[in-house]
Symmetry: C2
Subunit: 110 residues, 2 copies
DNA sequence: TTATTTGATCGCAATAATACGATGAAGTGT
DNA sequence: ACACTTCATCGTATTATTGCGATCAAATAA
């Protein structure tokens, strides 16, 4: 992508795309679903759930954290990850707004 | 790899990730929003809306089409694109199911 | 203290995504 | 027939992502 043209997209388009990109890998979907399933904080045993090395899982966790979907809390020698409830609400609202945009579209076209 | 690790991702995890990946680029978000905004089929003037060359836009359109978000109909020498209402309903349901999964999670953790 | 555990980060290789000019295919108009 | 339009695809350069071993940092346990 040309750096000079990135600014041509609106802020919310860039935000949505960044968010979607974070969800655009099966490992990260699996991590989120695992965190949801155990309904509690899970630590590094996420690594055990995935067919990936510890370094790779750590990388995926960072990506999810950067986009605000999860948060991690240090607990002694391990780190407890969970879905970031606060941010998730905001993110969900962003996505739903986008969905409603699409819903309003294109009733009888083509 | 440890034997306890599941070597593959589930079908729905792969589907979700593929879908999210298709939304993971600002140009494709912009295309969808434009199609929604004009509330009718638009043809190759999508190119005029984006800071990208025709070949690149065509590429993005193909990705959106492959994942079922849009459809294109040939109209003479031009092609009319619009959101694929039918598929969009299915896709939205998939996403909402995923969202509900996350909603149920992690009430008071960390 | 030293050893161990947990997880983050670094460095690098392999792969995938992005962008664009050039070209091809198919329809339209002269 | 020819020129023109519209869009898809090809070839390819650039950049980003993915994955993993190695290593580092911090807390814990001996």
């Amino acid at each position: 992508m040309k750096a000079s043209k990135v600014s041509e997209y609106s802020k919310h388009q860039l935000e949505l795309a960044t968010l979607a990109k974070a969800l655009g890998h099966p490992a990260r979907i699996a991590i989120l679903e695992h965190l949801a399933r155990v309904n509690a904080c899970v630590c590094g045993d996420i690594v055990e759930e995935l067919p990936l090395a510890q370094a790779t899982v750590s990388q995926h966790l960072r990506e999810l954290k950067e986009v605000g979907l999860i948060k991690g809390t240090v607990e002694g020698t391990s780190v407890c990850y969970c879905i970031d409830e606060e941010n998730w609400k905001t993110i969900k609202e962003q996505l739903n707004t986008f969905f409603r945009e699409l819903d309003a579209a294109c009733q009888n076209c083509c």
